[in-house]
C-alpha cells in the first residue's frame, strides 16, 4: 500500500505589508538591498482579530471546494501550528467541529515550524499504513506576525502569515516515499519566543538595545539569531538531502524538482549551490508571500505542480529551522492526473 498527497490548497490573509511600508517605518533600513537578498517584496499579515485557527478553516474550506471534498469523509486531522488558540483544549478539536468533520475522526495539534509539513506527511503516512486512518487532512497555519515586535525590522521583512491544507490518502497523485529526520535542541534559543508559555508564563519582558540604540530583542517576542540559523542550515541541509536520497535509493540527478522550506532566497541559493542542484530544478516561491513557516513547502509545492513547466516525476521536499528541527522526503508521481 502507498500513501499519497492528493490535493493542496492554501489561504493568504488579505492585508499585505510591502517593502515601501517597511521602509517608511524604518527609513534607516536599506529595504531594497535587503529585499534583493531575501527575495521578498510582499507579505500577507493576519488581521488583529484573525488567528491561525481562522486561517486554517479558510484553507481547509478552500481545499474542500476546489477539489469537491466532503469533510464528512475526513477521518483524521493533523494541525501543525506554533500559535494554538489556547494552551488547552487542542485547537484541532475546535477545528473538527467548525469544519464539519465526523465525531468518529481523530484530531491533534503538533507544534513545529519550518519542518512541520514534512513531519506532518510522515505522521499521515504512518496512520494510513497502519490502517488507523484513510483520509487525512494536514493543515499548517502560522501567524508569526503576532510574535514580531514593531521595532524588529529584520523579522518583519522575512515572515508572512499563511495557512495550507493538504489531503493525504491511499489514492492520489504523488506517493510519499521515505523520510529522514533531524533534531538538535542546542539551537533552541536561536529562534524562540521565550515568554508566555508555561516556563515563563507571567514574566515581564523589556526591550533590549545594543550600544548604538538598535533594537535587539524582547523576550515576549520572536527572536532569531540569523547568523546561527544560516550556519546551522548550511551544515545540516546538504547532509539531510544526501541521506534522504540514499534512503530512497536515488541520486541527485533522479530528482526533477527540489522544494525546500522557503526561508529566504539568498540562503536557499547558497545551499542550492553547495549541494550542486541545477537552478532550473530548484523551486522558489517567496517574493509575494515571504517566509510562511510551516506553509512554505505546501504553497511552493502547489505552485510548482500548477505553474511550473518542468518534468516532475520525483520531488524532494526539505524542511528545516526552528527547534532546531529538520526533515526531508521524496514524492513520486503516480501515473495519473496531476492535481
Amino acid at each position: 500500500m502507498k500513501t499519497y498527497i492528493k490535493s493542496i490548497s492554501y489561504y493568504l490573509p488579505e492585508k499585505t505589508l510591502d517593502n515601501i511600508t517597511i521602509n517608511r517605518d524604518h527609513p534607516e533600513w536599506s529595504i531594497d538591498k535587503i529585499s534583493a537578498k531575501t527575495g521578498i517584496i510582499n507579505r500577507h499579515i493576519a488581521n488583529t482579530d484573525e488567528f491561525a485557527s481562522d486561517m486554517a478553516i479558510k484553507a481547509a474550506n478552500k481545499l474542500f471546494s476546489e477539489y469537491n471534498i466532503d469533510p464528512k469523509n475526513i477521518d483524521f486531522l493533523l494541525y501543525c501550528t506554533q500559535s494554538p488558540d489556547y494552551f488547552l483544549p487542542t485547537t484541532a478539536c475546535i477545528l473538527q467541529e467548525k469544519l464539519g468533520m465526523p465525531v468518529d475522526s481523530g484530531a491533534m495539534d503538533f507544534n513545529l515550524g519550518c519542518s512541520g509539513f514534512v513531519y506532518g506527511l510522515s505522521i499521515a503516512k504512518g496512520l494510513i499504513l497502519s490502517g488507523a486512518a484513510k483520509n487525512i487532512l494536514l493543515i499548517t497555519s502560522e501567524t508569526y506576525s503576532k510574535f514580531i515586535h514593531s521595532n524588529d525590522k529584520s523579522n518583519k521583512t522575512i515572515f508572512g502569515d499563511a495557512a495550507a491544507a493538504a489531503l493525504i490518502s491511499d489514492t492520489g497523485d504523488y506517493s510519499i516515499a521515505d523520510f529522514c529526520f533531524g533534531t538538535n535542541g542546542k539551537g533552541a534559543e536561536n529562534l524562540i519566543v521565550k515568554f508566555g508559555a508555561i516556563r515563563y508564563k507571567n514574566d515581564v519582558a523589556s526591550d533590549i538595545f545594543d550600544s548604538e540604540g538598535n533594537f535587539i530583542k524582547n523576550d515576549a517576542c520572536l527572536f532569531m539569531n540569523g547568523s546561527e540559523i544560516f550556519s546551522f542550515t548550511s551544515q545540516a541541509v546538504p547532509i539531510l538531502v544526501n541521506e534522504t536520497l540514499a534512503k530512497n535509493k536515488l541520486s541527485l540527478d533522479d530528482i526533477d524538482a527540489f522544494v525546500f522550506h522557503q526561508a529566504n532566497k539568498y540562503m536557499l541559493d547558497f545551499i542550492r549551490k553547495k549541494i550542486n542542484i541545477p537552478a532550473e530544478k530548484f523551486v522558489t516561491y517567496i517574493e509575494q508571500v515571504g517566509n510562511t513557516v510551516s506553509s512554505t513547502i505546501p504553497i511552493a509545492l502547489k505552485e510548482c505542480i500548477l505553474n511550473q513547466n518542468i518534468n516532475k516525476n520525483k520531488i524532494l521536499l526539505a524542511g528545516f529551522g526552528v527547534g532546531y528541527s529538520w526533515a526531508a522526503c521524496v514524492l513520486e508521481k503516480n501515473n495519473g492526473k496531476i492535481s
Binding site: 538591498k33 535587503i34 534583493a36 537578498k37 531575501t38 540569523g226 547568523s227 544560516f230 550556519s231 548550511s234 529566504n264 539568498y266 540562503m267 547558497f270 553547495k274
Partner: protein, 77 residues
C-alpha cells in the same frame, strides 16, 4: 593555499554587480551589497572550503580578503 582562488571564492559570495569589485585589498564591508547575509556566506565558505571556523568577533577585525586569507593561513600553521 592560493590567494587568487581564495579571492574568487570570496567574490562569489557577493551579488553579481559587486563580484568584479572584489580584489585582495578591497575593504569588502564598504561594497554596496555587503550585509550580514554576505558575511555569513563568507564564513560558511571558509568553513566548507578551508576547514576553518572564524568566529564572528574575530571576523570583525578583518577588513580585506587578503587579511582573511592571512588569518586562515596563520590558523593552519
Amino acid at each position: 593555499m592560493e590567494i587568487n582562488e581564495f579571492v574568487q571564492k570570496f567574490a562569489n559570495q557577493f551579488v553579481d554587480y559587486d563580484v568584479e569589485k572584489v580584489h585582495a585589498d578591497v575593504k569588502f564591508r564598504s561594497l554596496d551589497s555587503w550585509d550580514s547575509l554576505t558575511g555569513m556566506a563568507v564564513l560558511a565558505m571558509v568553513q566548507d572550503d578551508y576547514g576553518i571556523e572564524i568566529k564572528v568577533d574575530e571576523f570583525l577585525k578583518l577588513n580585506t580578503p587578503k587579511e582573511v586569507f592571512d588569518y586562515i593561513q596563520n590558523v593552519k600553521k
